[in-house]
Symmetry: D2
Subunit: 379 residues, 4 copies
Amino acid sequence: MTQQLSSPVSLTAVDAPGQPTPTPELEQLYRGFERELLVPLWTEIGDLMPVHPRSRAVPHVWRWQHLLELADRAGHLVPVGRGGERRAIALANPALGGKPYATPTLWAAIQYLMPGEDAPEHRHTQHAFRFVVEGEGVWTVVGRDPVPMRRGDFLPQAGWNWHAHHNAADRPMAWIDGLDIPFQYTAESQFFEFGRETVSEQERTTPERSRSERLWGHPGLRPVSAPGATPGTPLLNYRWADTDAALADQLELEAEGHTGVVEPGHAAVRYTNPTTGGDVLPTIRAEVHRVRRGTETAPRREAGSSVFQVFDGSGTVTVGDASWRVGRGDLFVVPSWQPLSVRSEAGTSDSDSGALDLFRFSDTPVLEALHLDRVEVSG
Amino acid sequence: MTQQLSSPVSLTAVDAPGQPTPTPELEQLYRGFERELLVPLWTEIGDLMPVHPRSRAVPHVWRWQHLLELADRAGHLVPVGRGGERRAIALANPALGGKPYATPTLWAAIQYLMPGEDAPEHRHTQHAFRFVVEGEGVWTVVGRDPVPMRRGDFLPQAGWNWHAHHNAADRPMAWIDGLDIPFQYTAESQFFEFGRETVSEQERTTPERSRSERLWGHPGLRPVSAPGATPGTPLLNYRWADTDAALADQLELEAEGHTGVVEPGHAAVRYTNPTTGGDVLPTIRAEVHRVRRGTETAPRREAGSSVFQVFDGSGTVTVGDASWRVGRGDLFVVPSWQPLSVRSEAGTSDSDSGALDLFRFSDTPVLEALHLDRVEVSG
Amino acid sequence: MTQQLSSPVSLTAVDAPGQPTPTPELEQLYRGFERELLVPLWTEIGDLMPVHPRSRAVPHVWRWQHLLELADRAGHLVPVGRGGERRAIALANPALGGKPYATPTLWAAIQYLMPGEDAPEHRHTQHAFRFVVEGEGVWTVVGRDPVPMRRGDFLPQAGWNWHAHHNAADRPMAWIDGLDIPFQYTAESQFFEFGRETVSEQERTTPERSRSERLWGHPGLRPVSAPGATPGTPLLNYRWADTDAALADQLELEAEGHTGVVEPGHAAVRYTNPTTGGDVLPTIRAEVHRVRRGTETAPRREAGSSVFQVFDGSGTVTVGDASWRVGRGDLFVVPSWQPLSVRSEAGTSDSDSGALDLFRFSDTPVLEALHLDRVEVSG
Amino acid sequence: MTQQLSSPVSLTAVDAPGQPTPTPELEQLYRGFERELLVPLWTEIGDLMPVHPRSRAVPHVWRWQHLLELADRAGHLVPVGRGGERRAIALANPALGGKPYATPTLWAAIQYLMPGEDAPEHRHTQHAFRFVVEGEGVWTVVGRDPVPMRRGDFLPQAGWNWHAHHNAADRPMAWIDGLDIPFQYTAESQFFEFGRETVSEQERTTPERSRSERLWGHPGLRPVSAPGATPGTPLLNYRWADTDAALADQLELEAEGHTGVVEPGHAAVRYTNPTTGGDVLPTIRAEVHRVRRGTETAPRREAGSSVFQVFDGSGTVTVGDASWRVGRGDLFVVPSWQPLSVRSEAGTSDSDSGALDLFRFSDTPVLEALHLDRVEVSG
């Protein structure tokens, strides 16, 4: 056997708890481990089995204006086509070694499509969604169903469905893509298949509503013709008008003295799969939170990680030791077991409508499916 | 913002499919991405979203005799106690950068306890098991229940249960530990708590059967007093005598012309949680396979990874491009989507009983829970 | 022992298949059975274990005008109050011995409330719903949540919730109640508790939307504050506007050449519990079917029974050997395993909008939960 | 419409709570209801919706010796064959109108097969089991798998499996059959199909163990070749040796100061489906209870009904207001919501081993599946 460990077994400090005293014999033993491709637990246990999650990721914020400018420049320099597949530019958490991972399990990217452009069809096991913070004009064709995208729309897309995009407008459009790419990279469960380079003329139509919405977008109703539960949601667009109304209803109920909000001044809805009542995607949870002007949410930490995008309003976000002022479009990550608190405040612009609206996605369904979820709320 | 990517965005070869032509403007764009902690999808998609899983791990075999010798040397040099916790020495896949990971999701280690030694009590969210290829004399105390360990016994232990070990014999004992440490390292779901340094005299008893076996070890029967389904199995020891009988029964049924085996000459049983009928642990599947002398199994590949240990017999194992002769105690890994075939053959020693018995554990429950499992069998 | 069978063991015809020849000894044996409260299987098996379900119920239709007239007369003669609880008048299938059972498992009644009247609060384990074929002005107070009732609204109400009704209008209002009373009568699982005689002034308000709708009536969205899955739906009103839109969408999709309808010209939606995606109530399925003018549905039979009410339009219904012309409000039952076919036709009145809309409820969830469901569609 | 209610709507006593004052107009209204096949709720609600279950069944005991004598006489008078199908004689609860129902949902019968006799093959949707209180020599052939029957064996048989019996011994054999015939009679979900009149010679073999036991009878192990979960158990015989050992283990654990028993001196095991960990049959729960000599169990009542058979020992059973001395083979019923208490006592015979062993089956899985289960334990 000529293979060897690419990095040697770390030697242990003399005074580390539970570590043996360094001796020539111990040194020889450790070299023996290396030769045989072995690593002792006792030198690694603090990192491998911490008292609570110590995320390799760090809290970080990305400014929407910077993303947009770079995406627009890419729009002029980088064509979209077979092979590269998408003009998507991913957030790389500064502590994850340059990998395009927002967190150890989640991918978040800005995608950009120029007027008249097509992104070719493909499918993959990675679960995905789009969320639109501004703009319109692109249709995502899932299967053969063109789905419109407009500000506030959430478009989940369960793995292994064919999909393409086309921009039917005369302006570029940007949105964010969320996927479980890092998770599946670890699970090594990825499959990918190329589809057609361009969708047919018939699918390039621009209907007001997708067929999926016409079948599945009616509250509490399902088509009798449809089969039973599916792991991913069959509803391909969750319109902003519905999300907005649901959040407004919760705050009004609170004002009338009824239950419904998560905590005072803090409404929240979760996107669900109508065939199961559970999360929209097997590996990704998605929610929208509305924090009333002047409200500060209780610090809360969870096992597992999240990515947020400010949909509207402005405020101050605190994640662990980090704190930022945020406004529309800004994205930030909350690593595992780091407490998050949000304060809704007036921004510098007059356009603020009063509340801070936050889109959130997380890997919680993975942890819940495996009974590994934990939450702690302060105060 | 002064943070930067620790490794620069990889530049793309001129002729890669779907990549833009390198120009000064493109170069400038890529530098802009780096400054903003962004990575374009189009340069990474082949690695991130492969056509099928291309495991970062490689097939590899570890020889039991080498492990045993090193473990014994560690037994004389490295004390067991609070802080280091366990004298466990982990298999480090040669392609995983020196990390103590047998595969990207699974940990496998040899653990070794000297006569009279105790391993202190602790608990953790990581799911674990022990499997004993030879020897006896150690009891694992789970909760307050001492569980004996003997050749062929499988001892699963769901996360967050207190556990300790003590060697009541006058000889050292070795066994293997399997855990989901790498998976939970990625999911960042780990919690850990120290317990008592030594278990009480009462728990240092050495009963023939654990209390868990007396309550849960009767086929098809459950105590009425017990609560409903639990994520991990309440049965703490699966005895070899039962496993052996189940495998023998399958081969006898085959000989009589009935169904039951996986394929001709190949019997297999899966350890299950009697409260659910599913896998013993939320993140780990465990099985024993018996391949009749002279039989070669059909090549089979799965999404997700496995670790095998030869329990008895000898033969030749082929994983992807690698092939080894293996005998009792040898451990090998099967990375995701690499085909595995096993041939049972007479070994060099006379002691071979005729069949090749393989213990296997894998991350399949994770993939199944998230609807990411895939299997392909040749021929 | 002095007890005896109230009806003697039936003697078997001489020539019945598999029956013993009558003899004095046999006669004596049968008398012995009776004394010991025993019944031989061989004399009863044809009735007890038929080749397929032979319902004790028969197909039957009840005319809405007759029900309404009798209910109105009851409105003037029978007060509503504690003890009698509800002015509900139940359909009694003519073959079920005078019991108020529409089918062996389902209860269906017209309920009637005079202007200003209250029906007192109570709760019971029986699962219930209301469906409104015409009128408005009554609010059902569930818990403390007043829920409006209007034409086309479906109001499910899972067991053991407090509920009362009050008529805030200046006209009487009628609607139908559906419950699983006969099923629970057999299962002997019924509990019942009296609540307040009158609801408070605050609950006698007449909001446009119930609180449950404000929390749960947004498609694909759930409040984050709510607990997990509940056996019965938390959504207390399914509005006609949504149901109508969903049915119209299906027929439009069909006209455009897409999937979605059950069969040509036949759209159908099922009311679902948004926390599970399954049926609204553990024991009752509810659906609305729309049959395009001129369409005849394929004969279909199911294990388990159904009750239908015509919501709109007119047509001819065939159930087994029975056939009736039906119009708005008419109710009919489909016994287990009897084939049903529906033909949508113009009625005698001009008011027909063109399609036949049928509300349906059935005991299917019971059969499905126990793996006893079967369906057969002809042609 | 000429049909009429076969029994007239019951007239209400003047002074019943919540009932209208009888008047000629009311009388006329009630006659109108009858003509239209309607029944008012207010006259029936006390019976239909009681405050708690008031079972139509009554507690009753059947003496094994009487059953056995009558069964033996039937063995000489009534042939077994196609049409009558089985020499089974059912318990008819004295309050259920002569129907062969032990309770409103459960069927219990003694079945009797003479030496050399065959019971022909058939299948039905009704779920069934056999339990053997004494004797041996019969094999039940399920599918093509001959399953031996011996004292203490429990043989569940999920619906729609082919099955036949043959007595290979030179003596008659008796056992009890339990089925959900009354439940399915109400649900009207029954299908039935005739199979072969006699099983083949190959299936008339008398193996020591069934094939199902060889595949599924190993604790905590399942064949990898088998498909996933099945509604009914694939294990066709649960041997007394295992049941006895499990009960003995619980009482020993109690004696050692550990948990495991239901209450002091009262051990109990439930038969489970190894593919789900749940009940053996979708509609029937089966358990064995062992009550230590001198122990009296706490009164306990449940929604839903049970049938018990004394397997060994003797004692006094109290069900509601009834109380009996019971011994081996005696059968008794516990109607819904009637409290049961059992006292284990020395019998008149010397053969008593000391504990009272009770086999029990119930309709609990039906109630649990529909969220209708309730239990109350006194003291």
